[in-house]
Structures are given as C-alpha cells and as structure tokens.
Amino acid sequence: MNATFTLLEMRRITRDWAGMFFTAVLPAFFYLIFGATVDAKDATIGNGNVAMYVMISMAAYGAVTATTSIGGNAAVERQQGWGRQLGLTPLADSSYIAMKALIAMTVAAVPILLTFALGAATGARGSAQAWALSAVLCLVGSAVFAVYGLLVGTAFRSEAAVGAASGTMVIFAFLGNLFIPLSGALLTFAKFTPLYGYAALARYPLTEGYLPDGSRDPLWLPIVNVLAWLAVFGVSAVLLVRRGRERQ
C-alpha cells in the first residue's frame, strides 16, 4: 500500500464538492423520506425497529453509489491514457485496485456515518451490537461495488461509464430489497442479484435474516451471494484492467 499515492487520490476527491454532496447527502435525504417520516417507523423488526431497517438500507445504497462512482471514475481515467502512464511504473494492477478500493471505502464511510447519525437522531432503535455490526458490514461490503464500478467503467470506456454504473445501482437497489419490500417470485429472483446479499448481510445483525414478508434467509445465503459476485467482479476487472494498458 502506497500512502502518498492514496492521499493524493483522496485530495482529488475532496476537491469535487458537488460530487461529494450528491454521494453523501442524497441517501440521507432518502432515509428521511422513506424511514424517519413513515407511520410504521416504530414497528419492531428483529433487534430494532423499521426506521433502523430503512436506515441501514439507505446507508448501504449510499455506500455502493459512492464506491461504484469512484470505481467508474478510475476506469474513465484509465481510458483517457492514465492507465498507460501507470503502466510505465512498477505499480502492480493488484496494488492499484487495492488502493482504489480503500479510497472508495473511505468515501463510502461518509454517507454511512451521516445516515446513521440521522437515524440515531430521528428514532432508529436497535441493539448496540446491531448498530456497530451493520455499520461495519455496510462499509466492508461496499468494497465489492468499487470493483463493480471499475468493471463497468472499463467495459463502457467512456465518460458515460460513471453515470451508467451509478444508474444501474438504483435498479439493483430495488432488486436488492432496499427501497420497497419484495415478495413472491420477484423476491426469489432478487436473491440472485448483486445488492441483495450485501444489503441482507448489512441488516442481518438487526433482522437475523427475517424479511418484511415474514420469511427468513439462512445466513449462508447473503454470504454466498456476496462472495459469488465479488469473484465475478474481481476476475472480470483484472482481465479488463490488463486490456486497458493496450492502446485502442
């Protein structure tokens, strides 16, 4: 890990105030609309209440939006020739990806902290363990989507890559049971989609696997989902990053 490189990358992101605002503030705003102000917010779920359930969901959505956009930006930089410049240095692909993932997670921590702080202030209730663990899981799991952003951005190879990657997050968030409670065949299908495992895992300390429709996921289901998608994104990203070195 290269501290100078990572800190300079961080400085670039903090210079982009507009981008930071939308990445960090939008999910918090969603929480206020869908969580803090709904009638059922005090209803009990697992070790806490509905407000907390929505809070974790929105924090997760904010975190993956941040990581996806950072991954996508990395891909755009690379296609504009920065990848060739880095290809002239000893920097290994694996180090580059690891640094970008770390940066993405640092930025992802911002919407998580903001949403959790709002949740604490507006009636989200849960066990101390649920608060701590779900925050950590939101953060750690979001790394998977930094790799996803890199993958999408590298595949699309254009300025639109970032927008495309972030845009697909909204669809995956619906399918991942983040915005509205799913049931029936759609829920069964949802369990195979990329955000489902991550969101279910982040909420597990609160829900212990119980879903709003009363059914229950065993713990291995979200874990297998996350690992499988991590493998798919990781392998594809490494292959595509290698291709990014070659002049097109």
Binding site: N2, A3, T4, F5, L8, E9, R11, R12, R15, D16, E77, Q80, G81, W82, G83, R84, Q85, L86, G87, L88, T89, P90, L91, R245, E246, R247
Partner: protein
C-alpha cells in the same frame, strides 16, 4: 526520497533493445469488412546502450505499437522483445526503462508537483521530485493544475515523470506532436541539456528534421516493417541520389524500363505514360543511356531532397528490400 545510483548491471553486453521477428496484429474492428490488421509485421532490431535512435515513419507505420511492446504495454502476437536482456515489464519494474508517451494521459485535477509526487511514490528508489521538476523546466509551474497547462507544458511534465527512475533507456513516442515550433524547440533544448552520457534514447517521430538533428541512427519504418536502417549520414547519402526523367519513343517504353532496371545504381524506375522517371546514384550514366541508346527526349535531372528520399522509402511498398540492402 532517495536518489538513485544503480550500478549499471547488464551494461556488460546485453543490448538496450533486442527485437526478434516482432509481430503485432489487431483483430478487425467490429462490423468492418477488414481482415486483421498487422500493425507490426516482422521487425528485427538491435540497439546498443548509449545509442540515440530515431524511429522515423509516417502516421500508422507501426512506430507506437513497436514501442508499446518495448515498454511491455502490449504483448507481441509473435516474436520477442527484450530490454537490457530482460522482459520489458521486468525492465519497467526495475526502473531501467521509462517513456514519454504520445497519448499518455494525465490527471487534470492534480497539480504538476502532485503528479510527479504520485508517480514517484510507485518507485522504490527515484530521483528527488524537485530535481526532476527543475530538469524538465517546470519549477515555475509546479503549483499549477494540469488542466491549466499547455500541451507543451504537459509534455514536459511527462518528461519529468520519465526522469524519475533515472532510466538507462528513455523512449519518446512523438514527443513533440501537436506542439508549435517554439514549444518543439524548447522541448528538444530540454532534452539536449539532459542527454547525459550513456543514456540510450529511442524516439519516434514523423518529422525528418527532428530525426536528423537529434539521432545518431535512423530506423525508417513503413507498413509495420523496417525499410531502412543506418546512421543519419548513410540515410542522407540516399538523398544525394538524383531523379532522371525523359520521354521515350512510343512502343519502346516497356523494353527500355526493363533495361534501365538492370543498370547498376538504379534503385527505382517508374513509368508515367511515355515518360520514365529513374532514381539513381549515378545520374550521368542514366542520362547518357536515355539520350544515346534509348532515344529519350526532354530530359530532366532533379536532385532529390532528404524529404524525397523519405517519401521514396516509406511512401510505397515497391523495391523495399532492394532499398534496405542499399542503405546498409
């Protein structure tokens, strides 16, 4: 921050660049009717440490693709590329080779100094950041955003980045492309100041004057092949050849062309209707033959410039092997 003073391991024999039967082909663009494109079509090249070599050729000749393989940015389709006896990627990781790329992107939201610091941090040992900024003539611009730098200033920044590992081989791919005359002269002045003894420099260009002014050796590339390879003096002697043209009597053109081709020192014969255009080292002998034996009229003798030698060598694919032999 440490400065580098690496022992010159490998200086004892291994060539700076060794290319053997190097081929790179790209698949055809999706939806096009083309077959695969052979950007580099069998290049053999040996460059000794300390040489300053120009890759000269028109756009699309395969210069950049060849250099990409030297730098390990692209894998050859077949053949091998070695840098100081190592695989190119190993040479890059070891800091033995560095480059200023034609299209090497920079991050527009970083400053000049931040960019140098960032790239410097990827090396285990590198020249001090402020020293390379100074050597590239960027001291006054160190705090400026890359997006606010001119094309020439950005190119000097790429040059500063290339100096970081203190490489034994420096590759410059069209380093002055897109610069105006003043910026181009400034860039080469900077290069000259830095041309420390012993550093091997290979640069691609399609400007003859640049190749002539800076290189000891010129490798002419066209259509993915080397069409000529020699010292600048040897290449220039090509230019001392003259073009002789004359109008021949109707009906005798084909026979005369065949006869002219057998004359020693003639390297090209072109038919243009009833006129023949002959490029030859000994223009007097050709003129005598045309006027006395072949019945030619309206004779003209033109001294070819360096530019014309370049055009002749790279412009079309005819008699390339013959010309290659002649230059050697």
């Amino acid at each position: 921050m440490t400065t580098t003073s690496r022992p010159l391991d490998g200086a004892s024999g291994a060539p700076a660049i060794e290319l053997r039967s190097l081929v790179k082909s790209f698949p055809p663009r999706r939806g096009s009717q083309d077959t695969e494109v052979r950007a580099v079509d069998g290049i053999d090249l040996h460059i000794e440490p300390g040489e300053v070599v120009a890759f000269l050729g028109p756009n699309g000749a395969g210069k950049t693709t060849t250099l990409d393989m030297v730098l390990g940015l692209t894998e050859p389709t077949s053949g091998t590329a070695e840098v100081f006896g190592r695989r190119p990627r190993e040479a890059v990781v070891g800091g033995h080779v560095s480059a200023v790329l034609q299209t090497g992107g920079l991050l527009r939201d970083l400053t000049v100094r931040e960019t140098v610091r960032m790239i410097a941090s990827t090396y285990v040992a590198h020249a001090p950041v402020d020293e390379v900024i100074d050597r590239a003539g960027l001291t006054l611009l160190a705090g400026r955003r890359v997006s606010k730098c001119s094309g020439g200033e950005q190119q000097r920044l790429r040059f500063a980045l290339a100096l970081l590992p203190d490489p034994r081989l420096l590759v410059l791919d069209e380093p002055t492309a897109g610069m105006d005359v003043t910026a181009r002269r400034d860039f080469w002045d900077t290069m000259h100041e830095d041309a420390s003894a012993g550093r091997t420099v290979v640069f691609a260009t399609h400007y003859l004057e640049e190749a002539d002014a800076f290189a000891d050796r010129i490798v002419l590339i066209a259509g993915g092949r080397i069409v000529a390879d020699g010292t600048t003096a040897e290449i220039r002697s090509q230019a001392s050849g003259r073009t002789v043209s004359a109008t021949l009597p109707p009906g005798s053109v084909a026979e005369s062309v065949a006869r002219l081709r057998t004359v020693e020192g003639v390297h090209d014969v072109v038919e243009r209707g009833s006129r023949v255009v002959v490029t030859a080292a000994d223009s007097d002998a050709v003129a005598r033959l045309l006027l006395l034996d072949l019945g030619g009229t309206d004779l003209e003798i033109v001294t070819a410039g360096l530019e014309q030698a370049f055009m002749t060598l790279t412009g079309d694919g005819r008699d390339l092997d013959a010309e290659k032999e002649l230059v050697r």
